[in-house]
Amino acid sequence: MPETLVFYAFSALAVVASACVIGQRNPMYSVLLLVLSFAAIAGLFIQLDAPFLALALMIVYAGAIMVLFLFVVMLLNAPQEDALIWDRTHPLRHPVITRVGTLLAVVLIVELAYALMRGNDLAQGVGSRAGRETVSSVRELGRVLFTDYMFAFEATSVLILVAMVGAVLMARREGEQS
């Protein structure tokens, strides 16, 4: 039972923090609330026997990527009161579009709920089939990563190099000779 309570606490925290990220007009608070949401998801990862991913989420995502976002928010220093006007002049603010969109959203929710209620496997406990020690060990994760997924791993390093070069190139001032 404490397991279920912890699950409810973390998932409620994740959902509420994510909703606040979207409801917020100040991007600074949005970034900080997203860090809170990531912390809650990291808690869910630990419950799912993925401690390595939980730590990677906190260190890489919350520690590095969100700080990058914070830097950009502070660097640009955009005025906040514009956001109110932007919301009023939203191109999707049209009565017909709004109604059709609401209808589609309700259909999607009903469909998802139906699919999740129907599956027999889905009602089983999430760890009921698994051998506990094979999933949670970081050694096993590293072994699979460097043998079966070797090519994907190397391709990722090329991707990061390309992203780095692209980011430097695009953020450079125009007309500046290097």
Binding site: E3, F7, S11, A14, V15, S18, A19, V21, I22, P27, L34, I41, L44, Q47, L48, D49, A50, L53, A56, L57, V60, Y61, A64, I65, L68, F69, V72, V73, L75, L76, A78, D82, W86, T89, H90, L92, L116, D121, L122, G125, V126, G127, R129, A130, G131, V135, L141, V144, L145, L159, I160, V162, A163, G166, A167, V168, M170, A171, R173, E174
Partner: protein
């Protein structure tokens, strides 16, 4: 033991919140943050299914998704900076022209 469907419901809710953020917000930085919410919702699904199936493949895919998300955030923020230099605005409606 928490059933698998609970994790799927949580990640579906998180994904819907992220999608709603992309559609509703008019700030480029908030849109990027909503994309991060959606990526994490999918990560949660992968890890839950990986735990359910009892192998590490779900965690490996999540690892790759995180790497791609880092690259995406770097390029996306560089684009935001370049766009802000052009128009002094973060409203996506200011950037409807392909060339100016």
């Amino acid at each position: 033991m928490v059933p698998l469907s609970y994790y799927l419901i949580v990640s579906a809710v998180l994904f819907a919140l992220g999608a709603a953020g992309v559609f509703l917000r008019r700030n480029l930085i908030t849109i990027l943050l909503s994309i991060e919410i959606m990526l994490n919702a999918v990560n949660l699904t992968f890890v839950a299914f990986g735990r359910f199936a009892g192998d590490v493949d779900g965690q490996i895919i999540t690892f790759f998704v995180m790497t791609v998300a880092a690259a995406e955030a770097a390029v996306g923020l560089a684009l935001v900076i370049a766009l802000f230099r052009h128009r002094e605005s973060l409203n996506p409606d200011a950037f409807t022209n392909l060339k100016w």
